[in-house]
C-alpha cells in the first residue's frame, strides 16, 4: 500500500499529538489561560468570589486593549474548599489540561501546598491574599510569587500607625489564632510595636501575653475576660473572617472594645464592620490588601471601581478584588516582556518586575518574590447610612521599611 502526502501529514500530526511533542504554533493561537484557585464555599466564599471577580475584570480590561500580543486572557475559576489537598488536586487537574499559570488562594496553608507543587507542574503561582511570613521566607519556592503585602509589612505598618495616632496607648494585649498567620502577626507586633513607640515618642510599650485561640472557635469569653483583667489600652487582633466578627461581637457585649483606646487587625477588610454595623468598635483600624478609598489619584483603581459598581457587585470593592486584579496585571506585564507561558520563561520575567496596579507601582522582589507595595488601613465606624458603617479615615503607608531583608529559605529575622 502506498502512502500519499495527505496521509503522511495526518499521520505525522497524530503521532506528534500522541507523543506529546509541543506544537507551539497551535498552542500560542489560543487564549492565555489563568487558573483562579480560591475558596468559593463556606464562610470565606465572599473573599473567594471577590478573587474571581477581580481576576475577570482584569482579564476583561487587558482583552479590551487587544490582549497580550493579540491573545486573549481566559480565567478558569476553581474552588479549593480552603483545603491544601483540594487546592493541589485542582492545580494538577488544570495543569493536565494545559493551564500553567495560577493565581488567587486565601489560606496560607493552601498557598504553601500549591507553592510546593508548582515546579513539578512546570507552573507559576501568583498568590493574591495569603499572609504568612513563611511563604516568602523559610518556605520560599521558586515558582511562587505574592502580589500583596504580608504579615511583617501589614502589622509593622499598623504598629507605626498606632504609635502615630495613639501615643498614650502603652499597654497592649493581643488575641490570635494558633496557626501560621496568627503566629506571624504576634511575632511581627512583638518586634515593631515597641520599636515604633520608642522611635516616635521615646516611650516604652508593654506587650502582654497573647490569648491563643483555635481557628473557628465560637466562644472567646474566657479570652475577653483575661484581656479585660489585663487593663490594656490597645488590642492587636490576629483573627480573621468570621472569627474576628464573633470576637468583636462578644468583646462589645463585655465592654472590652469600649475599654481600649485602639484596635488594629491583620485584615478582614470591610467584613467585621459590615457585620457589626452600628456596633462597630470605636478606633477600630481594619487592615486591607487594598483600600479603594485611598487611591482616588490612581486611574487604574478608579477604572476598577467603576467597572465593579457598573456590574452591580456593590459599592465597595475590597482588597481581594484589588489584589486578584493585580495578579493578572502582573502576569500580563511579564508576558508583555516577551516571556512565554511556561514557568521556565515566566519566572525570570516576574522576578524584579515592576508593574502598574490599583495600588500604584508594585515590585516583585527578585530574591524572594515578595511584593514591595503600600500597606492600607481604614478606620471603620458604625453609621446611620444604608450600609450601617463607614470609613472615617484611612492610612496609606509605604510598606518598604517593614518588608525586611529578603531571606528566601530562611525564617524572617527581626533585628
Amino acid at each position: 500500500m502506498r502512502t500519499n502526502r495527505r496521509q503522511f501529514v495526518g499521520g505525522a500530526l497524530s503521532a506528534a499529538a500522541l507523543t506529546g511533542l509541543p506544537m507551539p504554533a497551535i498552542a500560542q493561537g489560543g487564549p492565555i489561560r489563568i487558573g483562579c484557585i480560591t475558596s468559593l464555599v463556606g464562610g470565606y466564599s465572599q473573599f473567594g468570589e471577590a478573587h474571581a471577580r477581580g481576576m475577570q475584570i482584569a482579564a476583561d480590561m487587558v482583552n479590551a486593549q487587544g490582549g497580550i500580543n493579540g491573545r486573549q486572557i481566559e480565567i478558569i475559576v476553581r474552588d479549593d474548599g480552603l483545603k491544601p489537598e483540594i487546592g493541589v488536586a485542582t492545580a494538577r487537574e488544570l495543569a493536565a489540561d494545559g493551564v500553567h499559570i495560577f493565581a488567587g488562594v486565601l489560606s496560607s496553608g493552601v498557598a504553601l501546598a500549591l507553592g510546593g507543587v508548582m515546579e513539578e507542574l512546570g507552573s507559576v503561582f501568583i498568590n493574591a491574599a495569603s499572609h504568612g511570613n513563611n511563604l516568602t521566607h523559610q518556605d520560599f519556592r521558586k515558582n511562587y510569587f505574592r502580589v500583596t503585602d504580608y504579615s511583617a509589612m501589614r502589622i509593622g505598618a499598623g504598629s507605626q500607625l498606632m504609635a502615630d495616632r495613639y501615643p498614650d496607648a502603652l499597654r497592649w494585649g493581643s488575641i490570635s489564632p494558633d496557626n501560621e498567620v496568627g503566629r506571624s502577626v504576634i511575632e511581627t507586633a512583638g518586634h515593631w510595636l515597641p520599636k515604633a513607640y520608642q522611635s516616635t515618642h521615646g516611650a516604652q510599650v508593654e506587650l502582654l501575653e497573647t490569648s491563643w485561640v483555635k481557628f473557628g472557635a465560637t466562644n472567646y469569653r474566657n479570652e475577653i475576660a483575661r484581656l479585660v483583667s489585663q487593663g490594656i489600652d490597645g488590642l492587636i487582633v490576629g483573627l480573621g473572617g468570621t472569627d474576628e466578627v464573633t470576637f468583636l461581637q462578644q468583646a462589645g457585649q463585655f465592654g472590652l472594645t469600649r475599654q481600649v483606646k485602639a484596635i488594629y487587625t491583620s485584615g478582614s477588610e470591610f467584613q467585621s464592620a459590615a457585620a457589626l454595623k452600628a456596633r462597630t468598635p470605636e478606633n477600630y483600624w481594619s487592615g486591607f490588601h487594598w483600600y479603594y478609598g485611598a487611591y482616588k489619584d490612581n486611574p487604574l483603581a478608579q477604572e476598577l471601581i467603576k467597572i465593579f459598581r457598573d456590574k452591580g457587585y456593590g459599592d465597595h470593592p475590597d482588597g481581594f478584588v484589588g489584589m486578584a486584579h493585580s495578579a493578572v496585571f502582573a502576569v500580563a506585564a511579564a508576558l508583555r516582556t516577551g516571556a512565554g507561558e511556561t514557568a521556565a520563561e515566566l519566572v525570570p520575567a516576574l522576578e524584579g518586575l515592576t508593574f502598574d496596579s490599583v495600588k500604584g507601582p508594585i515590585t516583585l522582589r527578585a530574591e524572594d518574590h515578595q511584593a514591595i507595595c503600600d500597606v492600607n488601613y481604614a478606620l471603620l465606624a458604625g453609621a446611620s447610612n444604608a450600609d450601617g458603617w463607614e470609613a472615617v479615615d484611612f492610612a496609606r503607608i509605604d510598606g518598604t521599611p517593614f518588608a525586611g531583608a529578603p531571606t528566601p529559605g530562611t525564617a524572617l529575622a527581626f533585628n
Binding site: 464555599v41 465572599q46 490569648s211 466562644n219 469569653r221 475576660a225 468570621t242 466578627v245 457585649q253 463585655f254
Partner: protein, 291 residues
C-alpha cells in the same frame, strides 16, 4: 486567678448547653433512623438564618426572639419531613453507608441553598435587650449565657420527660427499638418515625434560633458546633438524650477550662478527653436507644 477559673466554669456550662442543643436532635435522629446525620449542622445553620430573617439583627423583645426560634424550629422540622419522605425513607432498606453519603450530599445541598437564599455575608446578631446585658458579681455573668443554660436544661427535661414518661414518647421508643414488633402490635410505624424525624430536625432549627446571637452567623455556622456535638453523642451513648446532655457539659467544661489551663494549646482538651472517654467506656455513658 480563681475568678478566671470560676468564669471559665460558667462559660463551660454555657458552651455545654449550646453543644447539647445541637446534639439533642443529632442523637434523637440516630436513635430513630440509626444514621449519623451529617446534614444536622446545615439544618442548624438554616434555623439560625430563619430566626435572623424573622427577628433581624437585634430582636426588639424577648418574645419576638423566642418566636423567631420556634418559627425556625417549625421551618426546619418541615424541611426534615420533606427530606425524610424524599430521601431517608427510600434508603431505609439499603446499607447504612448509602444513608451517610446521602446525608453528606444533603449537607452540601443545604449550604448551597442557604447561600442562594441568604447570601454569603457574615452577620453579627444580638440578643434582645432583656437578656443582652450582664451582671457583675465578682465576675461578669452574661444574661444571654444564663438564657442558653436555661434553654439547654429545659430542652433536656422536655425530651427526657417526653420520651420516658409520656405515652407518645414511649411509642417512639417502641418504634426505635423494634419497628417490626411495633408494626405487629398495630402501631403506625412510618407515621411515628416521621413525627420523630420532624422533632429531631426541629431541634436543630430551635438550636439555630436560640444560638444565633452567640457567635457570628455565616455559612460556616453548621461546622462550628457539629464536631463537639458528635463527640457528645458518641461519648454520651448513641441515641441517648441523657448521655448527650452529660457529655455536652463535660466537653463544654473541657473546652473552656482548656483556654485557662493550657492557653498555648487551644482546643486540645476536648480531643484528648474524647480519646480517653472512648477508651474507658466505648459503649458510651448511657447506651439507651442503640441497644
Amino acid at each position: 486567678m480563681t475568678t478566671l477559673y470560676l468564669y471559665a466554669i460558667f462559660n463551660g456550662l454555657v458552651l455545654g448547653a449550646a453543644i447539647f442543643l445541637v446534639a439533642a436532635g443529632l442523637t434523637l435522629a440516630f436513635g430513630i433512623m440509626k444514621i449519623f446525620n451529617f446534614a444536622h449542622g446545615a439544618f442548624f445553620m438554616i434555623g439560625a438564618y430563619v430566626a435572623y430573617a424573622v427577628a433581624g439583627q437585634e430582636a426588639s423583645s424577648l418574645p419576638l426572639f423566642l418566636a423567631a426560634a420556634f418559627i425556625a424550629a417549625l421551618v426546619v422540622g418541615a424541611i426534615g419531613v420533606v427530606t425524610d419522605l424524599a430521601i431517608f425513607r427510600r434508603l431505609g432498606n439499603v446499607p447504612h453507608e448509602y444513608t451517610l453519603m446521602a446525608a453528606f450530599g444533603i449537607m452540601l445541598f443545604c449550604t448551597g441553598a442557604a447561600r442562594i437564599a441568604f447570601g454569603q455575608s457574615v452577620h453579627a446578631i444580638y440578643p434582645p435587650q432583656a437578656i443582652g446585658g450582664f451582671s457583675e458579681i465578682g465576675l461578669p455573668v452574661s444574661h444571654y449565657g444564663l438564657f442558653i443554660i436555661a434553654a439547654g436544661i429545659v430542652t433536656f427535661l422536655a425530651l427526657e420527660i417526653g420520651l420516658n414518661r409520656i405515652w407518645f414518647g414511649k411509642l417512639i421508643f417502641a418504634v426505635a427499638r423494634d419497628p417490626w414488633m411495633a408494626d405487629v402490635v398495630g402501631l403506625r410505624v412510618q407515621r411515628l418515625k416521621l413525627a420523630s424525624v420532624a422533632i429531631s430536625f426541629a431541634l436543630a432549627g430551635l438550636a439555630g434560633g436560640i444560638l444565633v446571637a452567640n457567635q457570628s452567623l455565616s455559612l460556616d455556622l453548621g461546622h462550628s458546633y457539629l464536631l463537639l456535638a458528635f463527640c457528645a453523642v458518641i461519648v454520651g451513648g448513641l441515641g441517648s438524650i441523657r448521655g448527650a446532655f452529660i457529655a455536652s457539659v463535660i466537653f463544654g467544661l473541657a473546652e473552656s477550662l482548656n483556654s485557662v489551663m493550657l492557653p498555648t494549646m487551644p482546643g486540645i482538651g476536648s480531643y484528648a478527653l474524647l480519646i480517653i472517654l472512648v477508651l474507658i467506656r466505648p459503649q458510651g455513658i448511657y447506651p439507651e436507644l442503640s441497644q
